[in-house]
């Protein structure tokens, strides 16, 4: 292909757009993807969304709960807490006896969930686990289910995780709560929802962007700009400058 002004400018614009897209993705890992992770348990769908890119600091999360016919579920008691990366890794675990296996959510994310039945069962009570998923359907076979219950494992490397109550939003969009991520990397958000005495528990994996992303982006763009300036300098040395002729004023 002949290299002309036109092709080189188009190539440059294309590179600029690709850079923008790639950098945006670095800066917003998972933002578009995390918006709308859905886990279905016993016909009840739980969709977790964030109002922004999931990064270190405070992030508003909204959990939408709908029943088997798609109607919003009201009156649920919802809690969420951030847990460590270790739990997310466990989603690959396949447990045939539980009727479920590690799989992907609607967006292709690994997700895990527990349906805990009984009024007297607490979310993290290992005793509740044998009952988990007893009502599983084919729809739920994509949901990973497993045992977990020790706080030690969950908090490894992530400090003390705080339980956040998620309250019904004013707009009726679901249940809202502010989660605080203290460090970047792979995390899971463990959500426990109590609906009409039935307790559901599930983990949503999230990738949290760290503060260093900005420095990396800045460095990358800085290097590219320096290269352009250097190239411009070389070009200037090899050619004399020119000013467009007056007729260009009438180009339109």
């Amino acid at each position: 292909m002949k290299i002309t002004y036109k092709t080189s400018i188009i190539a440059f614009l294309a590179i600029l757009i690709v850079m923008f897209v790639r950098a945006e993705k670095v800066g917003a890992v998972g933002s578009g993807e995390e918006l709308g992770q859905t886990i279905t348990v016993d016909g009840v769908s739980f969709t977790l969304r964030f109002d922004t890119v999931v990064s270190v600091g405070e992030v508003m999360a909204t959990l939408q709960i709908t029943d088997s016919v798609g109607n919003p579920v009201e009156g649920a008691v919802v809690e969420a807490r951030i847990t460590g990366a270790e739990l997310v890794v466990q989603t690959d675990h396949t447990d045939g006896s539980g009727g479920g296996h590690a799989g992907e959510g609607a967006d292709g994310h690994d997700t895990e969930a527990n349906a805990v039945h009984g009024d007297d069962v607490v979310a993290d009570d290992p005793a509740a686990m044998p009952e988990m998923g007893s009502g599983s359907t084919a729809e739920e076979s994509t949901i990973g289910m497993e045992e977990h219950g020790s706080d030690e494992g969950e908090d490894t490397g992530h400090g003390k995780s705080q339980i956040v109550a998620m309250h019904p939003s004013h707009s009726g969009a679901g249940y809202e709560g502010k989660l605080t991520f203290v460090n970047a990397g792979e995390h899971a958000i463990e959500v426990t929802a109590s609906i009409d005495g039935k307790v559901y528990q599930m983990n949503f994996p999230v990738k949290v962007v760290g503060a260093r992303t900005g420095a990396l982006v800045l460095g990358s763009f800085g290097a590219i700009n320096m290269a352009i300036i250097l190239f411009g300098y070389i070009l200037k040395k090899n050619s004399s400058s020119s000013i467009a002729p007056l007729k260009d004023a009438y180009h339109e």
Partner: protein, 470 residues
Amino acid sequence: MNKSIQTPIQISEPANATAISGRNPANLLENELIGRFMRSKWYPGIFQWPTLAIFMLIMFELLLGPTSAHDNFGTALTWVLWWPVIPILFLFLGRFWCAICPFATINDVVQKFVGSNKPAPKFLRKYGIWIIDALFIFVTWSDHVWGVVENPVGSGVLMLTLTTGVVASGAFFERRTFCRYVCFLGGLSGNYARAGMMQLRGTAEICATCTVAACYKGSEKAQPCPLFEFPKTMTSSANCNLCASCAKNCPNDSIQLTVRPPSFELWFVRKPKLEEAFLSAVIMGIVFVQNVTMLEAWPPILRMLEKAVGTTNYAVTFSLAFLISIIIPIALLALTSWIASMINRESTLVNFTRFGYALIVLDMAGHMAHNLFHLLAEGKAILFTGMALLGQDVGHDVSAALMAPQTIQWLQFLLIGLGLAGSVYTCYRIAQSNYSAANKWRTFAPYAVLMILFAAMNIYLFILPMAMRM
């Protein structure tokens, strides 16, 4: 495809605002204070360099500051202060922002030291506005899908991308090629500047005898026009950033800077262009989508779309909503133009192109009204995040509002009302300039209805509760 249309009736375009006011508007450059200041070496540098310094601070904050938009001073300055204020600047000062824009300053600095000053490529000159249209749509889309406004790093990436564009433009091409032919903000400001109140032109009688053309070519006194304008033939303020280089260069004192009524230029567009009319409709769509996605009713709408397309992937559902929002004003303008074409016997395309400009006033009003909410409901965030930068924490529970929501809403209605009046009157003037007395009102009527419909849609969206940006 640079389509400009030919008008069937000779338009008597006034050279300045005289035709409206009935008297000669004052040439601001003849005012000793203003004239001396604008022709001095300090102008516009006295504004440029502080703007660049603030830009550096913003970049530092966006990329290396707090990761939460709520706490980021860069986010507050950019999206709570600058973005809402900029359309107001366009209205009163035309494209003046472009003279002091930090990206333009970076372009100039790079150009001064390493610039090859190649002529702007022909294809950019030919398709520039279409490229701007496409980039504007792309950047708005990416803002929602990847979170530019809500994510400081995302905002930083957008700024760095623009910086890379101007660095490349400054290094290889003459003047401000990027600003004129590629920058989507330039396209937006150019469109709004048409409705702006500032007008810079050459004096026809003086320019007619000029053989120097220092305004375009430059001289030892100042650089040539950075946006490739030639005051002698200028009929639009879309590409004049009031940098006053032409005034500094002109040996005959031909340049006039006058104040004109808002939207005045839109009444007499001599060569309307499809891409510019299209951009006006696109901006209306973007104002809609910005409003809709900030409504508290947006999540239920999103769920409805998720059900319709069968995926919860936000990129897919938002793209659909975005497409619908962009298509609505374009389709309505096309439909109205088709109706008008039945009346005035001109093609739909000609009508679309000619009357598309009337949307600019309502675009501006919608843009201002939407961002007024952010400025007035979140304005204190600028102070709070600024204090946080200095180590003072005001906490998260303090309201950032400068005014009560009800007051803001009334101001929004007022702005839309003014925008509607401006757009309807512009339709009338366009019809008056182009059609016979018999066809004037009949052509005007469907466009007036369209403007009322757009205004009603905007007002309806402002009635609904809106979410915060910070």
